[in-house]
Symmetry: T
Amino acid sequence: MSAPVYKKVTVVGTSRQSIEGAIQSAVHTAGKSLRHLSWFEVREIRGHIADGKVDSYQVEMAIGFSLEGQEEALNIMTAL
Amino acid sequence: MSAPVYKKVTVVGTSRQSIEGAIQSAVHTAGKSLRHLSWFEVREIRGHIADGKVDSYQVEMAIGFSLEGQEEALNIMTAL
Amino acid sequence: MSAPVYKKVTVVGTSRQSIEGAIQSAVHTAGKSLRHLSWFEVREIRGHIADGKVDSYQVEMAIGFSLEGQEEALNIMTAL
Amino acid sequence: MSAPVYKKVTVVGTSRQSIEGAIQSAVHTAGKSLRHLSWFEVREIRGHIADGKVDSYQVEMAIGFSLEGQEEALNIMTAL
Amino acid sequence: MSAPVYKKVTVVGTSRQSIEGAIQSAVHTAGKSLRHLSWFEVREIRGHIADGKVDSYQVEMAIGFSLEGQEEALNIMTAL
Amino acid sequence: MSAPVYKKVTVVGTSRQSIEGAIQSAVHTAGKSLRHLSWFEVREIRGHIADGKVDSYQVEMAIGFSLEGQEEALNIMTAL
Amino acid sequence: MSAPVYKKVTVVGTSRQSIEGAIQSAVHTAGKSLRHLSWFEVREIRGHIADGKVDSYQVEMAIGFSLEGQEEALNIMTAL
Amino acid sequence: MSAPVYKKVTVVGTSRQSIEGAIQSAVHTAGKSLRHLSWFEVREIRGHIADGKVDSYQVEMAIGFSLEGQEEALNIMTAL
Amino acid sequence: MSAPVYKKVTVVGTSRQSIEGAIQSAVHTAGKSLRHLSWFEVREIRGHIADGKVDSYQVEMAIGFSLEGQEEALNIMTAL
Amino acid sequence: MSAPVYKKVTVVGTSRQSIEGAIQSAVHTAGKSLRHLSWFEVREIRGHIADGKVDSYQVEMAIGFSLEGQEEALNIMTAL
Amino acid sequence: MSAPVYKKVTVVGTSRQSIEGAIQSAVHTAGKSLRHLSWFEVREIRGHIADGKVDSYQVEMAIGFSLEGQEEALNIMTAL
Amino acid sequence: MSAPVYKKVTVVGTSRQSIEGAIQSAVHTAGKSLRHLSWFEVREIRGHIADGKVDSYQVEMAIGFSLEGQEEALNIMTAL
């Protein structure tokens, strides 16, 4: 059964500058402990307002990655 | 009954530059007459095209704010 | 920041005759106190049944209008 | 055009006890400044967690009310 | 990049008594192994029927928590 | 073809006390004439407001039940 | 437990003339065998095209009715 | 008013072999007591897992059928 | 492979008179260059407001048509 | 501006055998006149019933393809 | 029948820099072969990740344009 | 608090043969490191096209499993 299997996790990135910054921040944090990150899907864009101004952007997104090696799959899935 | 109550209004901001610009414009306008703005949620991103180019971004969003003081609540709610 | 900002309100119009009648009724009522009405979006079409017949159509719709002048914006937004 | 017209506003009630408490709190606050409240529709149930326990329930809901008299309609709609 | 990043997991709590009980049960279980739980969002309310009566409530919800410290982030993300 | 087949009906229960009460009321009524009730799924939570207070909760839900015996299936399906 | 319980059925009405005609046709047919019809909700508007013209409108709608008397409830529910 | 009226019922078919098997099973069961079955729409595909393997497929679907003859309509509608 | 294949295009019809008029206008225009039009599905009903009145109805709809002959299929698909 | 641009078309494939057969049929037909087909997304699974049995499966899907060369883009886009 | 009719096509733009860049790229490509482009609606924001970083943004959007002249309509519709 | 708590993870299975194959592959991989797998829910069916043919099916699904023993719960939840 050599067909690849992927897993998706839901993460919320934040940034005071931009929507892209919030996305990059989330991908960067996820990449510290997960390998084979492959794609992301934006689920929701929200933000915090302070003093009548946009204080930060919050982007909820799903990040997909492949469960490539069997050993690896075991560990990451345990880490489901 | 001291638990806070919030109200959400739907606003569409526009900008010729960026999505973030459209969001900021809407928050800025809402902040002129409403206090305690607390968060926003993007509902839809659209835009106008002119001469085959993006002419402006239009971002529909909900803006939430707390109805804090009773007096205040009365007025703002009348202004529902 | 001359880019226009719009506000949307949710209204339910009713009519014993037709869906169009319910839409017109809601727009007509909203137009009595709001200026610069610009567009509507139908959200839901329901109705009341009496004596086994359609008694009335109820159309929920969002009505959008621009917050054009600053003075005006202040007042209408207070009336958020 | 005597067919009734309704307006819906979006409010978020909160309660430390229960979902029903959050709903009642929002209806109670809205009822201070709006007459003819007629129905509510729950849009979302969320909550805040503190110290690993549910700290409060937040219920977003639409509240519908009729714009009955013409005079009244004028005022409340201005207060759209 | 000090902007906070959050993770959301999907959990289904159950209770024979109430919807709130099912929510509290899920938060309580999640809190045993995850720190910094911050908010929940109800996704679906279902239940089991036995002998013609409600036997239990099942509430599917997303639980969000912050990935605060870097060390910590590493571990919890591995535990994605 | 011994694999079970289920049917779902849509019912709206009401209660002046609680959401759980409205669910139980609907299950109880359905159970008077349908056997093998197995699960429910909440579709919408609404309610009626009177005198500025929650007058009743209305919970729309799907109720699922198995069509077990062939004879039985015939009758209940005729009763689709 | 005197709180009313309602049932909803899904029907598709058709008409060669208009959307309202399709709605009325469905309500009329349902009313031949069901009592206490109370409301309808339009789910989808489609239609058939023949010879490059609209041949008929098809309106899918839910029709709600109350299960009032116990005896009656028994019968109609059997007729679920 | 000779325009046809259709009714839709919601059924869940199951099969240990395939999604198509679950669909066929539901159609087959419905066809035992309902005439004029005309179309189906898949609403959801789920399944049961046992011993780490797919144990059965569960396909929720709407089945549409016409209420053709008046007599017939009466009976089937009573069987709503 | 004689099983028919259909294509759907998205069109927005407009009318100053009625929703049906907007639908007919879109079907009529599509029928000028596409053969085998078979059905439509309404996606959204919106409209333009001018001088506080409904100025026009805008109905977004999908129109489906069969790709019958192979030659024909080639041409129409090129015209995707 | 060398970043790729894709186009999606909506097609409905049919098959008397299986869901996969309906998907393959649609992809096969689209591939006769469109190059660079890249992916598909299932939108809806429906079917026709005849004589109380599944007569055919109908799968609505979006098919995506890249608009690679400029010349080519021109032609295919004209064929939008 | 002088009321305008519009057509919408679905395009996916990509950019390595920003969401706005992906939108502009898609509009630019569409404008090479389609006239009267009028508006766009963002449907989904996704992206590709490589080496643990955002590699490109992919924005799926609908682009609307008017079918103005009859001659023109014929051609562009053939190019549906 | 003996009421069971479940967790759901999102996985994408792939197969060159069939939709069922993609589902089984995902369940099989998840079962290597997670115990008590209980049910799955299909979220989306997509696929890759190569040389004008379906190259593989991709099925995104949620897989639910119970967090039965406390010890176990601790570990698996850490592995959230």
